[in-house]
């Protein structure tokens, strides 16, 4: 009797799978320290006062009717799109080169791509301060060539921020692309060529559509990372540009306005989720396209 129950709990005679109960400890930790805090965050955002006694949608109305807050949200989402596009344009050729290189070069490329992923984000951002600064590498090169008289202001500009964020987030784009391009049957490109299509045409008509799952995955990761990149945004963007993470941090830490900060978090969270959902919807369509080949 006893042995029968134990057997049925772990699927009789099946030695190839493990009991679901092994997920229990992590499940409990997640329930207490992840799900509960987020639920509390949501609960708090539904209160109109800082003491959290009066229920209401006041915080959301305050955010959504405030042109300043909406502008912060808008510029954050736009920044993500610009960075993602830059990463895609620069990252795709890296993945392409990786797939046609020998294994030594492949290891080198992957190490170069991984390096920024694993070095501290503060260090990476700091590097851009050195590059973009008044006495930085770009200004000294331009000045020594006599192209400019006074140093250009590049730090604290939108362009500088996009360049820095693109470099910081590039690995997240390149890794899924390498995987996706590696899965494409090389015969397809040959078939396209023998049917008379040139390299550019084959690239646009065959390679790009077939690597779409990788593009979507890369874009999702890059986008989500770029809009939440607190350190890079604050150090390279400076005080002039305000984005959602800093806005949220200011409201929570400096102003101690927790219900409003909670509402900002929830709005930000849903904006991110909406974009991830949009990307994964596009991904499903792309996969359907890939299967139909």
């Amino acid at each position: 009797m006893k042995s029968a129950t134990t057997a049925s709990a772990t699927a009789p005679g099946d030695v190839t799978s493990f009991s679901l109960g092994l997920a229990l400890p992590l499940g409990v930790v997640f329930a207490i320290f992840f799900v509960l805090p987020l639920a509390q965050l949501f609960y708090l955002s539904l209160h109109n006062d800082t003491a959290a006694t009066v229920w209401g949608l006041g915080q959301y109305i305050k955010f959504l009717s405030d042109p300043f807050s909406l502008a912060v949200l808008g510029s954050t989402l736009l920044l993500g799109a610009e960075v993602t596009l830059a990463c895609l344009v620069l990252g795709y050729p890296i993945a392409w080169l990786y797939q046609r290189s020998g294994s030594r070069v492949q290891t080198l490329i992957i190490m170069i791509v991984l390096l920024p992923l694993l070095t501290s984000v503060v260090v990476r951002t700091f590097a851009w301060i050195v590059i973009l600064g008044r006495q930085g590498i770009i200004n000294s090169v331009l000045q020594s060539l006599g192209l400019i008289g006074t140093p250009l202001r590049m730090i604290y500009t939108q362009g500088g921020l996009i360049a820095a964020l693109a470099q910081v987030q590039m690995p997240l784009m390149v890794l899924p692309l390498i995987t996706a391009i590696g899965r494409i049957d090389p015969n397809l490109a040959d078939a396209s060529a023998s049917l008379g299509a040139g390299s550019w045409r084959t690239f646009v008509k065959v390679m790009l559509p077939l690597s779409m799952p990788g593009i979507i995955a890369g874009c999702t990761l890059t986008y989500a990372a770029a809009i939440t990149a607190f350190i890079t945004q604050s150090l390279i963007g400076g005080g002039q540009m305000l984005f959602m993470p800093m806005y949220l941090y200011q409201q929570a830490s400096t102003l101690q306005n927790w219900p409003f900060a909670a509402a900002i978090s929830i709005i930000f969270l849903f904006a991110v989720l909406a974009i991830v959902a949009l990307f994964s919807m596009l991904g499903r369509r792309a996969r359907g396209y890939g299967d139909a080949r």
């Binding site: 679901l20 509390q40 050195v130 150090l235």
Partner: protein, 271 residues
């Protein structure tokens, strides 16, 4: 004629793609190189190229007790978070990787969700939660917060290793009379160990580098290195940070080389 046109067309494509790729790779590497070079400056500014070379900023770093204090905290928190992530994450990965049950799929999404959600929102939520249940912020709360955001890396890499494991190996072991625990110790664990190690490595690095959770869960007594560096940089552009940065860059490169040798990290992340 058309053959030559075809060749030129193919060549232009290859040149364009290779040129962008090389440019992008240079773009990825150069910031790290620039930092390492600038850290050896003899001057007081982040001027590039440096006016002269010296190791004075490394001597300065040797005396920067605030940064060292923060670095020690970061290492302690990263080690505990990684250890917890391994114990909890590997067990969870075993449970969900070979199960077809809906519960397993839902748990998988739950355990992966910290990777997608804005971590800053979780940082704030965790701070409010700990203050609600009356747990003062300390290294313990930092370890808990970091574990939540780091455990997905261990789960994901372990699940990936488990899916490549041949089920027949487990069956053979059972037929030959091995207990499940023995099979786990002698068959499963050795085969998935590289996956666990590379997941743990990424978890450690991301805890050590974590900003969004530490931002809310640390205070002066539990200062964390990335936050300390960020606050230093907000105030002044100190060359000591350049010395510290190049120490971190060189340390990362060394760790990466070791990981590549022992677990084939690069193949694991692109497989």
């Amino acid at each position: 004629m058309s053959g030559r046109q075809r060749n030129w067309e193919a060549l232009s494509f290859q040149i364009a793609m290779t040129a962008i790729a090389v440019l992008a790779l240079i773009l990825i590497v150069s910031p790290s190189l620039v930092v390492v070079i600038v850290s050896f400056t003899s001057g007081f500014s982040l001027k590039f190229p440096p006016p002269g070379y010296s190791t004075r900023w490394y001597v300065e770093l040797w005396n920067a007790w605030q940064l060292q204090f923060a670095a020690r905290n970061s290492v302690v928190v990263a080690m505990w978070s990684t250890a917890l992530s391994i114990v909890l994450g590997v067990a969870a990965a075993l449970a969900i990787s070979r199960s077809k049950a809906l519960t397993a799929k839902l748990l998988d999404s739950l355990f992966m969700s910290p990777l997608v959600l804005p971590a800053l929102a979780f940082g704030l939520a965790a701070l409010m939660f700990f203050s609600l249940i009356g747990l003062p912020i300390s290294l313990l709360t930092l370890v808990i917060g970091h574990t939540i955001v780091c455990v997905p890396y261990v789960v994901r890499n372990t699940v990936a290793a488990l899916t490549q494991l041949e089920p027949t190996l487990l069956e053979s072991s059972a037929i030959l009379g091995a207990s499940r625990l023995y099979t786990f110790r002698r068959i499963v664990l050795p085969l998935i160990r590289p996956g666990i190690i590379s997941g743990a490595f990424i978890a450690f690095m991301s805890s050590f580098d974590n900003v969004p959770v530490s931002l809310f869960l640390r205070d002066a007594a539990t200062d964390m290195l990335p936050i300390r560096m960020w606050q230093d940089l907000e105030g002044k552009l100190d060359v000591t940070i350049a010395a510290l940065s190049s120490v971190l860059i060189i340390g990362t490169v060394a760790l990466m080389a070791i990981m590549e040798r022992t677990t084939g990290l690069s193949k694991r992340l692109t497989g």
